[in-house]
Amino acid sequence: MSLNLDRFRQWFLAVFVGGVLIFVMAPLFVTLAMSFSDSYFVAFPPQGLTIRWYQQILTDRYFLSALALSGYLAFGSTICALLIGIPAAMALARGRFPGRTILQGIILSPLIFPELVAGLALMQVLSAAGMVDARLNLLIGYTLVAAPYVVRAVTTSLLLVDANLEDAARTLGANRFVTFWKVTLPQIAPGVAAGAVFAFMISFDNLPMALWLADSRYSPVPLMLMRQLNSVFDPSIPAMSTVIIILALSGALVVERLVGMRRAASLQP
């Protein structure tokens, strides 16, 4: 009897989880299917089979410049986030000073702070300071969002590394920089890489910041797509979406190979 109940539990779990996986993948697959539809309006089921929407968007200067801008911003903000995030993570993981937990809380607080509000506040200050270059402003905003992810990923990795190895290197005469470069960095490399790829992907798809900081000349991908939704109704939108999905999922696979998506995306160490 109890064996049967266990069987039932297993089946229930399998069917339920299967249903959730379909729920998760459904919008991505419907978008993919619609992008090949040979019709002028997006309506299910897709009609015929064509790649002309891809030909159209891959020659669309608006889409390509948005992609290029998002790529540039994601790359730039990842570099900036690494430059300020790795030293901060070192200090938080290795330092022993009063107020360390409070400071860590402040540094990680942009993770739960409503991003829409952070972006609005930033826009006000930047425009008051007379900063009108949308690309620079977007870079600052994206770095603000990406940096805490880097700090978190690197801090987590550092806590797994034996600090005694660093002390040994110092005792043997290496200075702080050499110790970091030759002893610490090789060990935390997967964490740094995961943080970097995650920061890149978050920046590539940042809408709340872009909403405030972009202007008509410089619109990153999510903002451009959002505006297109109101004015374009043919399958070029699903085609653009599919390009974005493929880029994002390739990034996810890279993270999975490096450290595992589950670890990289976890909010706790």
Binding site: I84, A91, G95, P110, L116, L120, L225, A252, R262, Q268
Partner: protein, 281 residues
């Protein structure tokens, strides 16, 4: 060591803390006809928020949508988290990859995918499916309702709930479940009396993230909700870009931050409270 913190701290101070304080300060200042913000100090903008029906309805919408998103996300996430913890390694990795990977796909794209599925008329994917297998005879109109926003938000936030739950369930000693089962408890009782209470820290962590992200959502309400499911984030955008009323935009921002911080501190205090600890022990 402290020198290492300098760049990050300076950056946050300049581009996060000071701007946030400055913006919140606007909420009690006055904007004159030229758009300049300053004295006199006033609480009139807060009074306006809490006396106009439209704004209260948006606040209520936001709380309601965030609440139901948390409930449904948790209901979907528990079985998935249990499966990730208890399945064979390869299967577990596949499940977690499929559930977590969409996290990096643009929220705009995912909301758009749901628009295609929920679209009214026979051209929506869900209507097409249900009509062709004969479950319904008239197409449903789910799009541009609060329900559609909840569906989109559950999809967007599911990984944020699965991750902390799987981490918490993974830490539970399997012997506890086996003991309960040996003593004759049916599986649902094992869940309610062992797994659920012991995974509470994970659930709370998930609820904090999901509620905070949903309360501050912007994309899904626009793409899936339409005018009937306006949320606080959309109201902020309207006040700044359409009405140019900065103090009132600051008031709505203040209320949004207040909700998020209140939820955070209350739930964290609940997990750390002694009564709860004793109940767990």
């Amino acid at each position: 060591m402290l020198v290492l913190l300098l760049p990050m701290t300076l950056f946050l101070l300049l581009f996060f803390l000071l701007p946030a304080i400055n913006l919140l300060g606007y909420s009690i200042q006055t904007q004159n006809a030229q758009g300049i913000i300053g004295a006199p100090l006033t609480l009139a903008h807060f009074a306006k928020f809490f006396t106009v029906d439209l704004y209260l309805r948006v606040l209520w919408n936001t709380l309601r949508i965030s609440f139901w998103t948390c409930i449904y996300t948790a209901l979907l996430a528990y079985p998935v988290a249990i499966a990730i913890v208890s399945a064979r390694p390869t299967l577990s990795r596949v499940i977690s990859l499929i559930v977590i990977a969409p996290l990096v796909v643009s929220v705009v794209v995912r909301a758009y995918g749901w628009q295609l599925i929920l679209m009214a008329g026979p051209g929506g994917a869900l209507n097409w499916l249900l009509l062709s297998i004969g479950v319904i005879s008239e197409p449903l109109s789910l799009l541009y309702t609060p329900t559609a926003v909840v569906i989109g938000q559950v999809h967007v936030n599911l990984p944020m709930m699965v991750l902390p739950l799987a981490a918490a369930i993974g830490k539970i000693d399997p012997n506890l479940r086996d003991a309960a089962r040996t003593l004759g408890a049916p599986w649902w009782e094992v869940f309610l009396r062992v797994t659920l209470p012991l995974s509470m820290p994970g659930l709370v962590a998930g609820v904090i993230i999901v509620f905070s992200l949903t309360a501050g959502a912007f994309v899904t309400p626009v793409v899936l909700g339409g005018p009937s499911a306006l949320m606080l984030g959309n109201l902020i955008e309207q006040q700044i870009f359409t009405v140019f009323d900065w103090p009132f935009g600051a008031v709505i921002s203040f209320i949004l931050i207040f909700i998020v911080i209140l939820l955070n501190t209350t739930l964290i205090r609940f997990v750390e409270s002694r009564k709860f600890r004793r109940a767990q022990a």
